[in-house]
Protein backbone atom coordinates (compact mmCIF):
# COMPACT_ATOMS: atom_id res chain seq x y z
CA UNK A 1 0.00 0.00 0.00
CA UNK A 2 2.68 2.46 0.99
CA UNK A 3 4.56 1.52 -2.15
CA UNK A 4 1.76 2.85 -4.36
CA UNK A 5 1.63 6.05 -2.31
CA UNK A 6 5.35 6.65 -2.83
CA UNK A 7 5.05 6.09 -6.54
CA UNK A 8 2.04 8.36 -6.93
CA UNK A 9 3.59 11.76 -7.44
CA UNK A 10 0.50 13.75 -6.55
CA UNK A 11 -0.18 11.84 -3.33
CA UNK A 12 3.47 11.94 -2.14
CA UNK A 13 3.20 15.64 -1.59
CA UNK A 14 0.52 15.05 1.00
CA UNK A 15 2.60 12.52 2.93
CA UNK A 16 4.54 14.22 5.75
CA UNK A 17 8.35 13.77 5.58
CA UNK A 18 8.63 11.59 8.68
CA UNK A 19 6.08 9.16 7.24
CA UNK A 20 8.04 8.93 4.02
CA UNK A 21 11.14 7.83 5.84
CA UNK A 22 9.53 4.73 7.36
CA UNK A 23 11.25 1.53 6.21
CA UNK A 24 9.62 -0.51 3.49
CA UNK A 25 7.31 -3.02 5.19
CA UNK A 26 9.04 -6.13 3.86
CA UNK A 27 8.40 -8.34 6.85
CA UNK A 28 5.89 -6.16 8.57
CA UNK A 29 3.20 -8.21 10.26
CA UNK A 30 4.09 -11.39 8.36
CA UNK A 31 5.97 -14.44 9.64
CA UNK A 32 9.73 -13.99 9.34
CA UNK A 33 10.75 -14.83 5.80
CA UNK A 34 13.85 -16.79 6.84
CA UNK A 35 14.32 -19.25 9.66
CA UNK A 36 17.96 -19.15 10.67
CA UNK A 37 18.97 -22.73 11.36
CA UNK A 38 17.23 -25.13 13.74
CA UNK A 39 17.22 -24.73 17.49
CA UNK A 40 18.59 -28.24 18.05
CA UNK A 41 21.83 -27.29 16.30
CA UNK A 42 22.95 -25.74 19.58
CA UNK A 43 22.16 -28.88 21.56
CA UNK A 44 25.51 -30.75 21.38
CA UNK A 45 27.36 -27.59 22.45
CA UNK A 46 24.98 -26.90 25.34
CA UNK A 47 25.19 -30.49 26.61
CA UNK A 48 29.00 -30.58 26.39
CA UNK A 49 29.49 -27.18 28.02
CA UNK A 50 27.15 -28.01 30.88
CA UNK A 51 28.71 -31.45 31.32
CA UNK A 52 32.40 -30.62 30.99
CA UNK A 53 32.38 -27.19 32.60
CA UNK A 54 29.46 -26.77 34.98
CA UNK A 55 28.67 -30.28 36.21
CA UNK A 56 32.34 -31.21 36.51
CA UNK A 57 33.28 -28.01 38.36
CA UNK A 58 30.38 -28.34 40.79
CA UNK A 59 31.16 -32.01 41.45
CA UNK A 60 34.82 -31.10 41.98
CA UNK A 61 33.77 -28.40 44.43
CA UNK A 62 31.76 -31.00 46.31
CA UNK A 63 34.61 -33.56 46.37
CA UNK A 64 36.79 -30.92 48.01
CA UNK A 65 34.82 -31.44 51.23
CA UNK A 66 35.14 -35.24 51.23
CA UNK A 67 37.87 -37.77 51.87
CA UNK A 68 37.17 -39.82 48.74
CA UNK A 69 40.10 -41.87 47.44
CA UNK A 70 38.53 -42.78 44.13
CA UNK A 71 37.47 -46.22 45.30
CA UNK A 72 34.75 -47.32 47.68
CA UNK A 73 33.18 -45.27 50.43
CA UNK A 74 33.71 -41.65 51.25
CA UNK A 75 32.68 -39.29 54.01
CA UNK A 76 31.78 -35.67 54.11
CA UNK A 77 34.54 -34.16 56.25
CA UNK A 78 33.81 -30.45 56.02
CA UNK A 79 36.81 -28.16 56.07
CA UNK A 80 39.34 -30.79 57.19
CA UNK A 81 41.10 -30.82 53.80
CA UNK A 82 41.62 -27.07 53.93
CA UNK A 83 42.88 -27.14 57.49
CA UNK A 84 45.39 -29.78 56.35
CA UNK A 85 46.53 -27.59 53.43
CA UNK A 86 47.17 -24.57 55.64
CA UNK A 87 49.00 -26.61 58.28
CA UNK A 88 51.38 -28.31 55.86
CA UNK A 89 54.44 -26.12 55.17
CA UNK A 90 55.11 -27.78 51.78
CA UNK A 91 51.55 -27.14 50.61
CA UNK A 92 51.56 -23.60 51.95
CA UNK A 93 54.90 -23.14 50.20
CA UNK A 94 53.30 -24.33 46.98
CA UNK A 95 50.70 -21.57 47.30
CA UNK A 96 53.51 -18.99 47.57
CA UNK A 97 55.38 -20.55 44.64
CA UNK A 98 52.22 -20.39 42.54
CA UNK A 99 51.80 -16.69 43.28
CA UNK A 100 55.52 -15.99 42.81
CA UNK A 101 55.59 -17.63 39.39
CA UNK A 102 52.36 -15.98 38.25
CA UNK A 103 53.32 -12.46 39.26
CA UNK A 104 56.96 -12.85 38.31
CA UNK A 105 55.99 -14.02 34.82
CA UNK A 106 53.43 -11.26 34.34
CA UNK A 107 55.76 -8.47 35.42
CA UNK A 108 58.83 -9.61 33.49
CA UNK A 109 57.02 -10.70 30.29
CA UNK A 110 55.14 -7.41 30.18
CA UNK A 111 58.26 -5.30 30.58
CA UNK A 112 60.31 -7.24 28.00
CA UNK A 113 57.31 -7.84 25.71
CA UNK A 114 56.41 -4.14 25.64
CA UNK A 115 60.08 -3.32 25.08
CA UNK A 116 60.25 -5.64 22.07
CA UNK A 117 56.94 -4.30 20.74
CA UNK A 118 58.10 -0.68 20.99
CA UNK A 119 61.47 -1.57 19.46
CA UNK A 120 60.03 -3.25 16.37
CA UNK A 121 56.81 -1.25 16.09
CA UNK A 122 57.62 1.17 13.28
CA UNK A 123 60.25 2.23 10.76
CA UNK A 124 62.38 -0.94 11.05
CA UNK A 125 62.68 -2.63 7.66
CA UNK A 126 62.85 -6.14 9.07
CA UNK A 127 60.06 -5.76 11.63
CA UNK A 128 57.93 -8.62 10.27
CA UNK A 129 60.86 -11.03 10.32
CA UNK A 130 61.72 -9.96 13.87
CA UNK A 131 58.11 -10.37 14.95
CA UNK A 132 57.98 -13.87 13.47
CA UNK A 133 61.24 -14.88 15.16
CA UNK A 134 60.36 -13.46 18.57
CA UNK A 135 56.94 -15.10 18.50
CA UNK A 136 58.45 -18.50 17.67
CA UNK A 137 58.84 -19.83 21.26
CA UNK A 138 55.11 -19.26 21.88
CA UNK A 139 54.01 -21.95 19.44
CA UNK A 140 56.28 -24.65 20.86
CA UNK A 141 55.14 -27.04 23.54
CA UNK A 142 56.11 -25.88 27.05
CA UNK A 143 57.56 -29.32 27.65
CA UNK A 144 59.96 -29.09 24.70
CA UNK A 145 61.01 -25.58 25.74
CA UNK A 146 61.61 -26.81 29.27
CA UNK A 147 64.05 -29.50 28.04
CA UNK A 148 66.10 -26.90 26.15
CA UNK A 149 66.40 -24.82 29.31
CA UNK A 150 67.15 -27.88 31.43
CA UNK A 151 70.23 -28.29 29.25
CA UNK A 152 71.19 -24.63 29.70
CA UNK A 153 70.86 -24.86 33.49
CA UNK A 154 72.77 -28.12 33.99
CA UNK A 155 76.16 -27.96 35.66
CA UNK A 156 78.16 -28.40 32.44
CA UNK A 157 75.69 -26.21 30.61
CA UNK A 158 76.04 -22.94 28.72
CA UNK A 159 74.96 -20.76 31.66
CA UNK A 160 77.80 -21.90 33.91
CA UNK A 161 80.14 -21.77 30.92
CA UNK A 162 79.17 -18.14 30.41
CA UNK A 163 79.84 -17.35 34.07
CA UNK A 164 83.37 -18.74 33.74
CA UNK A 165 83.84 -16.72 30.55
CA UNK A 166 82.98 -13.41 32.22
CA UNK A 167 85.21 -14.23 35.18
CA UNK A 168 82.61 -15.21 37.76
CA UNK A 169 83.31 -18.93 38.22
CA UNK A 170 82.25 -18.73 41.89
CA UNK A 171 78.65 -18.18 40.84
CA UNK A 172 78.49 -21.56 39.09
CA UNK A 173 75.95 -23.93 40.56
CA UNK A 174 73.58 -26.77 39.75
CA UNK A 175 70.74 -24.34 39.14
CA UNK A 176 67.85 -26.79 39.17
CA UNK A 177 69.02 -28.59 42.30
CA UNK A 178 69.51 -25.41 44.32
CA UNK A 179 66.48 -24.69 46.58
CA UNK A 180 66.84 -20.90 46.21
CA UNK A 181 67.56 -20.76 42.51
CA UNK A 182 65.46 -23.56 41.02
CA UNK A 183 62.26 -21.50 41.06
CA UNK A 184 64.07 -18.64 39.29
CA UNK A 185 65.19 -21.10 36.64
CA UNK A 186 61.56 -22.05 36.06
CA UNK A 187 60.61 -18.39 35.93
CA UNK A 188 63.24 -17.72 33.24
CA UNK A 189 61.96 -20.66 31.16
CA UNK A 190 58.36 -19.50 31.34
CA UNK A 191 59.28 -15.87 30.62
CA UNK A 192 61.33 -16.88 27.57
CA UNK A 193 58.41 -18.81 26.14
CA UNK A 194 55.63 -16.30 26.82
CA UNK A 195 57.26 -12.95 26.08
CA UNK A 196 56.48 -13.24 22.35
CA UNK A 197 52.82 -13.68 23.15
CA UNK A 198 52.74 -10.50 25.25
CA UNK A 199 54.69 -8.68 22.52
CA UNK A 200 52.03 -9.53 19.92
CA UNK A 201 49.26 -8.21 22.17
CA UNK A 202 51.17 -4.94 22.52
CA UNK A 203 51.94 -4.76 18.80
CA UNK A 204 48.20 -5.03 18.12
CA UNK A 205 47.61 -2.23 20.65
CA UNK A 206 50.37 -0.02 19.29
CA UNK A 207 48.98 -0.36 15.77
CA UNK A 208 45.96 1.61 16.98
CA UNK A 209 48.06 4.62 18.11
CA UNK A 210 47.75 7.23 15.33
CA UNK A 211 51.15 8.36 14.02
CA UNK A 212 49.81 11.92 13.69
CA UNK A 213 49.26 12.28 17.41
CA UNK A 214 52.77 11.06 18.16
CA UNK A 215 54.18 13.41 15.55
CA UNK A 216 52.17 16.31 16.93
CA UNK A 217 53.48 15.56 20.42
CA UNK A 218 57.04 15.36 19.07
CA UNK A 219 56.62 18.71 17.30
CA UNK A 220 55.30 20.20 20.53
CA UNK A 221 58.63 19.26 22.07
CA UNK A 222 57.68 16.12 23.98
CA UNK A 223 60.66 13.82 24.43
CA UNK A 224 60.52 10.05 23.96
CA UNK A 225 59.62 9.35 27.57
CA UNK A 226 56.89 12.01 27.66
CA UNK A 227 55.43 10.68 24.41
CA UNK A 228 55.44 7.17 25.83
CA UNK A 229 53.81 8.28 29.06
CA UNK A 230 51.15 10.61 27.66
CA UNK A 231 50.40 9.22 24.21
CA UNK A 232 51.36 5.55 24.03
CA UNK A 233 50.40 4.26 27.46
CA UNK A 234 46.84 5.68 27.47
CA UNK A 235 46.28 4.24 23.99
CA UNK A 236 47.44 0.72 24.86
CA UNK A 237 45.57 0.42 28.16
CA UNK A 238 43.23 -2.28 26.78
CA UNK A 239 46.30 -4.27 25.70
CA UNK A 240 47.82 -3.94 29.16
CA UNK A 241 44.56 -5.27 30.61
CA UNK A 242 44.46 -8.29 28.29
CA UNK A 243 48.16 -9.09 28.66
CA UNK A 244 48.15 -8.97 32.45
CA UNK A 245 44.84 -10.81 32.92
CA UNK A 246 45.77 -13.66 30.61
CA UNK A 247 49.27 -13.74 32.05
CA UNK A 248 48.06 -14.14 35.62
CA UNK A 249 45.52 -16.81 34.73
CA UNK A 250 48.13 -18.73 32.73
CA UNK A 251 50.85 -18.14 35.29
CA UNK A 252 48.79 -19.59 38.14
CA UNK A 253 48.42 -22.83 36.18
CA UNK A 254 52.09 -23.46 35.29
CA UNK A 255 52.61 -27.20 35.32
CA UNK A 256 54.48 -28.62 32.32
CA UNK A 257 57.70 -26.68 32.83
CA UNK A 258 57.96 -27.64 36.49
CA UNK A 259 57.30 -31.28 35.73
CA UNK A 260 60.03 -31.34 33.10
CA UNK A 261 62.60 -29.19 34.93
CA UNK A 262 62.45 -30.17 38.59
CA UNK A 263 59.41 -32.36 39.20
CA UNK A 264 58.65 -30.08 42.15
CA UNK A 265 62.02 -30.54 43.83
CA UNK A 266 64.54 -30.01 45.32
CA UNK A 267 62.68 -30.86 48.53
CA UNK A 268 59.44 -29.28 47.34
CA UNK A 269 61.10 -25.93 46.58
CA UNK A 270 59.31 -25.62 43.23
CA UNK A 271 55.98 -27.29 44.01
CA UNK A 272 52.95 -25.28 42.92
CA UNK A 273 49.24 -25.88 43.43
CA UNK A 274 49.00 -27.33 39.92
CA UNK A 275 51.74 -29.91 40.54
CA UNK A 276 50.27 -30.74 43.94
CA UNK A 277 46.80 -31.28 42.48
CA UNK A 278 48.31 -33.76 40.04
CA UNK A 279 50.36 -35.57 42.68
CA UNK A 280 47.66 -35.78 45.35
CA UNK A 281 44.76 -36.64 43.07
CA UNK A 282 46.32 -38.76 40.35
CA UNK A 283 49.52 -40.21 41.78
CA UNK A 284 48.32 -40.78 45.34
CA UNK A 285 44.64 -41.31 44.49
CA UNK A 286 43.51 -38.73 47.06
CA UNK A 287 40.68 -37.40 44.95
CA UNK A 288 39.02 -35.51 47.78
CA UNK A 289 42.19 -33.82 48.95
CA UNK A 290 43.33 -33.10 45.39
CA UNK A 291 39.97 -31.45 44.71
CA UNK A 292 40.43 -29.27 47.80
CA UNK A 293 43.78 -28.08 46.40
CA UNK A 294 42.14 -27.47 43.02
CA UNK A 295 39.43 -25.45 44.77
CA UNK A 296 42.06 -23.27 46.43
CA UNK A 297 43.73 -22.74 43.05
CA UNK A 298 40.38 -21.97 41.42
CA UNK A 299 39.49 -19.41 44.08
CA UNK A 300 42.89 -17.71 43.69
CA UNK A 301 42.41 -17.55 39.91
CA UNK A 302 38.88 -16.18 40.28
CA UNK A 303 39.90 -13.55 42.83
CA UNK A 304 42.71 -12.23 40.63
CA UNK A 305 40.61 -12.38 37.47
CA UNK A 306 37.87 -10.33 39.16
CA UNK A 307 40.29 -7.80 40.68
CA UNK A 308 41.92 -7.44 37.30
CA UNK A 309 38.57 -6.92 35.55
CA UNK A 310 37.57 -4.16 37.95
CA UNK A 311 40.96 -2.46 37.88
CA UNK A 312 41.06 -2.35 34.09
CA UNK A 313 37.42 -1.30 33.70
CA UNK A 314 38.07 1.74 35.89
CA UNK A 315 41.20 2.69 34.00
CA UNK A 316 39.34 2.30 30.70
CA UNK A 317 36.73 4.80 31.80
CA UNK A 318 39.42 7.24 32.94
CA UNK A 319 41.21 6.81 29.64
CA UNK A 320 38.10 7.69 27.66
CA UNK A 321 37.15 10.68 29.81
Amino acid sequence: MTVTIERDATRTLTVPPEARRTPRPRNGGRRPLISYGHWWWALPAIVLVIGVHYAATLTGGFFAFTNWTGLGDWQFIGLDNFVRIFKDPTLLGSVWNTLFLAFGTVIITNIIGLGFALAINRTLKSRYVLRTLLFLPVVLSPLAVAYIWKFIFQFNGPLNGFLVLIGLPDLQKVWLADPTWSIWAILVTVVWQQTGFVMVIYLAGLASVPVEIEEAAALDGANIWQRFQHVTVPAIRPSIAIATTLGIIQGLRIFDQIFALTGGGPAGATETLATQVYKQAFSLGQFGFGSALALVLTLIILVFAIIQQYATRDRDAVGRA
Binding site: P44, A45, Y54, A56, I120, V139, L143, A204, A274, A294
Partner: protein, 278 residues
Protein backbone atom coordinates in the same frame (compact mmCIF):
# COMPACT_ATOMS: atom_id res chain seq x y z
CA UNK B 1 58.66 12.82 10.65
CA UNK B 2 59.66 9.30 11.74
CA UNK B 3 61.94 8.53 8.81
CA UNK B 4 64.54 5.82 8.34
CA UNK B 5 67.81 7.48 9.33
CA UNK B 6 71.31 6.25 10.12
CA UNK B 7 70.28 6.11 13.75
CA UNK B 8 67.40 3.79 12.82
CA UNK B 9 69.86 1.50 11.06
CA UNK B 10 71.98 1.34 14.21
CA UNK B 11 68.86 0.64 16.22
CA UNK B 12 67.84 -2.10 13.81
CA UNK B 13 71.26 -3.77 14.06
CA UNK B 14 71.11 -3.61 17.86
CA UNK B 15 67.64 -5.17 17.94
CA UNK B 16 68.85 -7.98 15.69
CA UNK B 17 71.68 -8.63 18.12
CA UNK B 18 69.25 -8.81 21.04
CA UNK B 19 66.95 -11.10 19.06
CA UNK B 20 69.80 -13.47 18.18
CA UNK B 21 70.85 -13.66 21.83
CA UNK B 22 67.21 -14.24 22.77
CA UNK B 23 67.03 -17.14 20.32
CA UNK B 24 70.37 -18.66 21.38
CA UNK B 25 68.62 -21.67 23.03
CA UNK B 26 67.61 -22.82 19.53
CA UNK B 27 71.26 -22.87 18.51
CA UNK B 28 72.15 -25.12 21.46
CA UNK B 29 69.23 -27.36 20.53
CA UNK B 30 70.23 -27.84 16.91
CA UNK B 31 73.99 -27.99 17.49
CA UNK B 32 73.70 -30.66 20.20
CA UNK B 33 71.15 -32.85 18.42
CA UNK B 34 73.54 -33.36 15.49
CA UNK B 35 76.47 -34.44 17.67
CA UNK B 36 77.48 -38.06 18.22
CA UNK B 37 77.05 -39.65 21.68
CA UNK B 38 80.66 -39.03 22.77
CA UNK B 39 80.86 -35.58 21.21
CA UNK B 40 77.67 -34.42 22.93
CA UNK B 41 79.11 -35.35 26.32
CA UNK B 42 82.57 -33.86 25.91
CA UNK B 43 82.21 -30.73 23.79
CA UNK B 44 80.77 -27.43 24.99
CA UNK B 45 77.30 -26.30 23.96
CA UNK B 46 78.68 -23.45 21.88
CA UNK B 47 80.90 -25.64 19.69
CA UNK B 48 79.17 -26.64 16.46
CA UNK B 49 79.12 -30.37 15.62
CA UNK B 50 82.23 -31.62 13.72
CA UNK B 51 80.01 -33.30 11.15
CA UNK B 52 76.27 -33.86 10.98
CA UNK B 53 75.56 -37.05 12.93
CA UNK B 54 71.99 -38.32 12.39
CA UNK B 55 72.32 -41.29 14.76
CA UNK B 56 70.38 -39.62 17.57
CA UNK B 57 67.43 -39.03 15.24
CA UNK B 58 67.54 -42.57 13.89
CA UNK B 59 67.61 -44.04 17.39
CA UNK B 60 64.73 -41.87 18.55
CA UNK B 61 62.56 -42.63 15.54
CA UNK B 62 63.14 -46.38 15.73
CA UNK B 63 62.60 -46.78 19.49
CA UNK B 64 59.82 -49.26 20.23
CA UNK B 65 57.20 -49.94 22.90
CA UNK B 66 56.14 -46.96 24.97
CA UNK B 67 58.88 -44.85 23.40
CA UNK B 68 57.41 -45.22 19.92
CA UNK B 69 57.64 -41.61 18.76
CA UNK B 70 56.12 -42.01 15.25
CA UNK B 71 53.08 -43.72 16.76
CA UNK B 72 52.67 -40.91 19.28
CA UNK B 73 52.84 -38.36 16.45
CA UNK B 74 50.02 -40.25 14.74
CA UNK B 75 47.98 -40.21 17.98
CA UNK B 76 48.57 -36.49 18.37
CA UNK B 77 47.44 -35.87 14.78
CA UNK B 78 44.27 -37.96 15.23
CA UNK B 79 43.33 -36.26 18.51
CA UNK B 80 44.11 -32.74 17.28
CA UNK B 81 42.28 -33.21 13.97
CA UNK B 82 39.26 -34.78 15.68
CA UNK B 83 39.06 -32.00 18.24
CA UNK B 84 39.32 -29.25 15.60
CA UNK B 85 36.63 -30.92 13.46
CA UNK B 86 34.26 -31.15 16.41
CA UNK B 87 35.00 -27.60 17.57
CA UNK B 88 34.38 -26.17 14.11
CA UNK B 89 31.16 -28.14 13.59
CA UNK B 90 29.51 -27.86 17.01
CA UNK B 91 30.90 -24.41 17.73
CA UNK B 92 29.70 -22.85 14.47
CA UNK B 93 26.26 -24.50 14.63
CA UNK B 94 25.67 -23.36 18.19
CA UNK B 95 27.00 -19.85 17.61
CA UNK B 96 24.86 -19.51 14.48
CA UNK B 97 21.64 -20.37 16.27
CA UNK B 98 22.58 -18.20 19.26
CA UNK B 99 23.35 -15.10 17.20
CA UNK B 100 20.71 -15.40 14.49
CA UNK B 101 17.71 -16.36 16.60
CA UNK B 102 16.84 -13.81 19.24
CA UNK B 103 14.99 -15.67 21.93
CA UNK B 104 15.44 -15.72 25.68
CA UNK B 105 17.09 -19.13 25.64
CA UNK B 106 19.68 -18.09 23.06
CA UNK B 107 20.73 -15.17 25.27
CA UNK B 108 20.94 -17.46 28.29
CA UNK B 109 23.01 -19.95 26.30
CA UNK B 110 25.41 -17.22 25.29
CA UNK B 111 25.97 -16.25 28.93
CA UNK B 112 26.36 -19.93 29.83
CA UNK B 113 29.17 -20.14 27.28
CA UNK B 114 30.73 -16.83 28.30
CA UNK B 115 30.94 -17.80 31.97
CA UNK B 116 32.43 -21.19 31.02
CA UNK B 117 35.35 -19.35 29.36
CA UNK B 118 36.21 -17.65 32.66
CA UNK B 119 35.54 -20.74 34.80
CA UNK B 120 38.94 -22.27 35.67
CA UNK B 121 39.23 -25.84 34.43
CA UNK B 122 41.34 -27.31 37.26
CA UNK B 123 38.46 -28.10 39.57
CA UNK B 124 36.63 -30.12 36.94
CA UNK B 125 39.59 -32.34 36.08
CA UNK B 126 39.17 -34.84 38.90
CA UNK B 127 35.41 -35.46 38.33
CA UNK B 128 35.92 -35.57 34.56
CA UNK B 129 38.62 -38.18 34.97
CA UNK B 130 36.43 -40.31 37.23
CA UNK B 131 33.47 -39.92 34.90
CA UNK B 132 35.52 -40.75 31.82
CA UNK B 133 37.11 -43.74 33.56
CA UNK B 134 33.75 -45.20 34.56
CA UNK B 135 32.46 -45.14 30.97
CA UNK B 136 35.72 -46.31 29.37
CA UNK B 137 36.74 -43.00 27.83
CA UNK B 138 40.20 -42.83 29.39
CA UNK B 139 43.21 -44.18 27.53
CA UNK B 140 41.75 -43.80 24.05
CA UNK B 141 41.55 -41.17 21.35
CA UNK B 142 37.74 -40.94 21.32
CA UNK B 143 37.58 -39.90 24.95
CA UNK B 144 40.39 -37.41 24.48
CA UNK B 145 38.69 -35.84 21.45
CA UNK B 146 35.39 -35.51 23.33
CA UNK B 147 37.18 -34.01 26.32
CA UNK B 148 38.90 -31.39 24.17
CA UNK B 149 35.71 -30.50 22.33
CA UNK B 150 34.05 -29.98 25.68
CA UNK B 151 36.91 -27.93 27.13
CA UNK B 152 37.39 -25.64 24.12
CA UNK B 153 33.76 -25.30 22.91
CA UNK B 154 33.15 -22.07 24.85
CA UNK B 155 36.13 -20.47 23.09
CA UNK B 156 34.94 -21.76 19.70
CA UNK B 157 31.32 -20.62 20.21
CA UNK B 158 32.50 -17.21 21.41
CA UNK B 159 34.80 -16.66 18.42
CA UNK B 160 32.18 -17.81 15.91
CA UNK B 161 29.50 -15.70 17.58
CA UNK B 162 31.56 -12.52 17.28
CA UNK B 163 32.18 -13.28 13.60
CA UNK B 164 28.51 -14.08 12.86
CA UNK B 165 27.46 -10.79 14.46
CA UNK B 166 29.59 -8.97 11.91
CA UNK B 167 28.24 -10.97 8.94
CA UNK B 168 25.27 -9.53 7.09
CA UNK B 169 22.24 -11.81 6.70
CA UNK B 170 21.83 -10.96 3.03
CA UNK B 171 23.72 -13.99 1.75
CA UNK B 172 21.53 -16.46 3.62
CA UNK B 173 18.38 -14.58 2.67
CA UNK B 174 19.36 -14.74 -0.98
CA UNK B 175 20.09 -18.47 -0.67
CA UNK B 176 16.75 -19.18 0.99
CA UNK B 177 14.85 -17.13 -1.58
CA UNK B 178 16.57 -19.24 -4.23
CA UNK B 179 15.12 -22.31 -2.53
CA UNK B 180 17.82 -23.50 -0.12
CA UNK B 181 16.80 -25.15 3.15
CA UNK B 182 18.26 -23.70 6.40
CA UNK B 183 20.76 -26.58 6.45
CA UNK B 184 21.87 -25.92 2.88
CA UNK B 185 22.05 -22.19 3.49
CA UNK B 186 24.30 -22.76 6.49
CA UNK B 187 26.67 -25.36 5.07
CA UNK B 188 26.84 -24.08 1.47
CA UNK B 189 26.76 -20.33 2.09
CA UNK B 190 27.42 -19.28 5.69
CA UNK B 191 30.15 -21.72 6.71
CA UNK B 192 32.34 -21.05 3.63
CA UNK B 193 32.06 -17.32 4.38
CA UNK B 194 33.32 -18.08 7.88
CA UNK B 195 36.76 -19.26 6.74
CA UNK B 196 38.63 -16.59 8.79
CA UNK B 197 36.76 -17.59 11.96
CA UNK B 198 37.37 -21.26 11.25
CA UNK B 199 41.05 -20.47 10.78
CA UNK B 200 41.25 -18.71 14.14
CA UNK B 201 39.43 -21.55 15.92
CA UNK B 202 41.59 -24.19 14.23
CA UNK B 203 44.87 -22.41 15.04
CA UNK B 204 44.07 -21.64 18.68
CA UNK B 205 42.50 -25.03 19.41
CA UNK B 206 45.09 -26.92 17.37
CA UNK B 207 47.96 -25.32 19.24
CA UNK B 208 46.42 -25.94 22.67
CA UNK B 209 45.57 -29.58 21.93
CA UNK B 210 48.82 -30.40 20.14
CA UNK B 211 51.05 -28.97 22.88
CA UNK B 212 49.03 -30.15 25.87
CA UNK B 213 50.79 -32.28 28.43
CA UNK B 214 48.65 -32.07 31.59
CA UNK B 215 45.36 -33.46 30.25
CA UNK B 216 47.08 -36.11 28.11
CA UNK B 217 49.11 -37.24 31.11
CA UNK B 218 45.96 -37.71 33.18
CA UNK B 219 43.49 -39.07 30.64
CA UNK B 220 45.88 -41.21 28.58
CA UNK B 221 48.36 -42.02 31.35
CA UNK B 222 49.59 -45.61 31.36
CA UNK B 223 47.83 -46.52 28.12
CA UNK B 224 49.42 -47.33 24.77
CA UNK B 225 47.66 -44.33 23.21
CA UNK B 226 50.16 -41.58 24.01
CA UNK B 227 50.30 -38.10 22.58
CA UNK B 228 53.63 -36.63 21.56
CA UNK B 229 54.35 -34.58 24.72
CA UNK B 230 53.61 -37.56 27.00
CA UNK B 231 55.75 -39.88 24.88
CA UNK B 232 58.53 -37.28 24.96
CA UNK B 233 58.24 -37.02 28.74
CA UNK B 234 58.42 -40.81 29.18
CA UNK B 235 61.29 -41.17 26.72
CA UNK B 236 63.40 -38.34 28.13
CA UNK B 237 62.80 -39.65 31.65
CA UNK B 238 64.62 -42.84 30.62
CA UNK B 239 67.68 -41.02 29.27
CA UNK B 240 70.39 -39.61 31.51
CA UNK B 241 72.30 -36.65 30.05
CA UNK B 242 72.13 -38.11 26.53
CA UNK B 243 71.40 -34.62 25.35
CA UNK B 244 71.86 -35.40 21.67
CA UNK B 245 69.01 -37.94 21.91
CA UNK B 246 66.86 -35.77 24.16
CA UNK B 247 67.21 -32.90 21.71
CA UNK B 248 66.51 -35.19 18.78
CA UNK B 249 63.13 -36.00 20.41
CA UNK B 250 62.57 -32.33 21.13
CA UNK B 251 63.31 -31.35 17.52
CA UNK B 252 61.11 -34.13 16.13
CA UNK B 253 58.29 -32.96 18.41
CA UNK B 254 58.73 -29.40 17.14
CA UNK B 255 58.86 -30.12 13.40
CA UNK B 256 55.09 -30.45 12.75
CA UNK B 257 54.13 -27.30 14.63
CA UNK B 258 57.07 -25.34 13.19
CA UNK B 259 56.16 -26.31 9.63
CA UNK B 260 52.62 -25.20 10.32
CA UNK B 261 53.86 -21.97 11.88
CA UNK B 262 56.13 -21.08 8.96
CA UNK B 263 53.37 -21.91 6.51
CA UNK B 264 50.79 -19.76 8.27
CA UNK B 265 52.78 -17.46 10.54
CA UNK B 266 50.88 -14.31 9.57
CA UNK B 267 47.54 -16.00 10.23
CA UNK B 268 48.96 -17.46 13.43
CA UNK B 269 49.91 -14.07 14.84
CA UNK B 270 46.73 -12.40 13.60
CA UNK B 271 44.68 -15.28 14.98
CA UNK B 272 46.21 -14.70 18.37
CA UNK B 273 45.75 -10.94 18.35
CA UNK B 274 42.27 -11.16 16.77
CA UNK B 275 41.06 -14.06 18.89
CA UNK B 276 42.05 -12.19 22.02
CA UNK B 277 40.31 -9.01 21.07
CA UNK B 278 37.19 -11.07 20.28
Amino acid sequence: MFRYTKLTAVREAFIWLVTLIWLLPFYFLIATAFKGDQEALTTSAVTPPKSLDFNAFIQVLTATGRNNIPLSILNSIIITAGAILGLVLFGSLAAYVITRRTRTWTNLTFYLVLIAIILPAQLGTVPLYIGARSVGLTGNAVGMILLWIGILLPLSVFLYASFFRGLTTEYEEAAVIDGASPTQAFFRVVLPLMAPATGTVAILAGLIVWNDFFNSLIFLGGSTTQTLPVAMYTYVGGLVSAWNKIFAVVIISMVPILLFYMFAQKKFIQGFAGGLKG
